[in-house]
């Protein structure tokens, strides 16, 4: 298990095995019984909050939804903080850059109506609604961001989660911030930097496909550029 900040080291702990034991159970056992100074982050324990993601045997995962049986190799686990983010201490990564990029990608809904207007009616089976549905369940755990090669190579890259969020808003008929959002996600730090390695799509615990969302943004931005709207 990783201890320390950027200049830390792996430390060895022996923990008892239980049936249906999760990686988060292992981390909690260490903190409760073996080393109370261990820093880690979790809240819900049931895959809803997205705060317990760590690198387990080299792969970013939710520790609360990962059974030890599925990932232990010869009874051993290597647990580290999420990659591609600064380490605050032990297993706690600093998520600031991750969420700042959601803001940079204009990941906030921009409505044009007031409370005096009627509800907007969006047909549930419309293509745009289905596209938005495909990406809207993201809970911001950072697994995709930690798994992305392009984030590792290009620190300015907005990353899969922020671009997926932008795509769900581009597909939202009610949203009035489309032009600014397409500008925000264009170029070398945005959707055009994606090499379609698809690590984000493979690793997403919610089975979202950010690669498809980024592909949609590439096409939407290109169309805007060809029409002179970018």
């Amino acid at each position: 298990m990783w201890r320390g900040a950027a200049a830390g080291a792996f430390c060895h702990f022996e923990v008892p095995r239980y049936a249906s034991q999760t990686v988060l159970d292992v981390v909690t056992h260490i903190q409760r019984h073996l080393d109370p100074t261990l820093a880690y982050r979790y809240a819900c324990r049931v895959g809803m909050c997205g705060s317990c993601a760590m690198t387990v045997n080299g792969i970013a995962r939710w520790t609360c939804r990962t059974h030890v049986d599925k990932v232990a190799q010869d009874g051993r686990l290597e647990i580290a903080p999420l990659a591609n983010l600064p380490v605050i201490r032990d297993l706690v990564a600093d998520m600031s850059a991750f969420f700042d990029k959601w803001a940079r990608a204009q990941g906030r809904f921009a409505g044009a109506r007031t409370r005096l207007d009627d509800f907007e009616r969006v047909p549930p089976q419309s293509e745009a609604r289905l596209q938005a549905d495909a990406g809207i369940e993201c809970i911001g755990c950072g697994v995709c961001y930690a798994s992305c090669d392009v984030v590792a190579w290009n620190p300015d890259y907005l990353g899969p989660a922020a671009l997926n969020r932008a795509w769900t808003l581009v597909q939202d008929e009610r949203d009035a911030g489309r032009a600014a959002r397409l500008r925000a996600v264009a170029g070398d730090a945005g959707c055009h930097a994606c090499h379609t390695h698809m690590s984000c799509t493979e690793r997403c615990p919610k089975h979202i496909a950010p690669t498809a969302a980024i592909g949609g943004l590439k096409r939407a931005v290109a169309r805007a550029a060809l029409r002179g709207e970018l």
């Binding site: 392009v150 190579w153 290009n154 500008r183 925000a184 264009a186 170029g187 070398d188 945005g190 055009h192 930097a193 090499h195 590439k218 931005v221 290109a222 550029a225 060809l226 970018l230």
Partner: protein, 114 residues
């Protein structure tokens, strides 16, 4: 920021469009190679096909220009991600590389035409 995002989007469009051209050109080129070597390959046979042919001139000129557009844009990402080389110096070097590719390619195309 807007102009940079716009410029980078146009580079992306140029790379995808040139890739589409290259896909057709490579297939035609390979098909021609396979067809041309059936009875052995000679310079005279090649020149007999290309010399004075406006069709082959146009085809290979398009092929060369598409490659000269496509390759430097791809290298742009490689240089940024693998060597950390970004900014105007990289883009100037790649523009020079694009001109070099186009010049050498067109020299060869004109040599088998004229």
């Amino acid at each position: 920021m807007n102009s940079r995002a716009r410029g980078e989007t146009w580079l992306w469009i140029a790379q995808r469009a040139s890739a589409a051209v290259l896909a057709v050109c490579v297939v035609v080129h390979l098909g021609t190679v396979i067809y041309a070597v059936r009875g052995g390959l000679t310079a005279a046979e090649i020149l007999g096909r290309t010399r004075g042919s406006l069709g082959w001139l146009a085809f290979y000129a398009l092929f060369v220009l598409a490659a000269a557009v496509h390759a430097p844009i791809g290298l742009r990402s490689v240089l940024a991600e693998w060597l950390g080389w970004r900014g105007p110096s990289r883009d100037a070097a790649l523009l020079a590389f694009a001109v070099l590719l186009a010049a050498l390619g067109m020299r060869a195309v004109l040599a088998v035409f004229a």
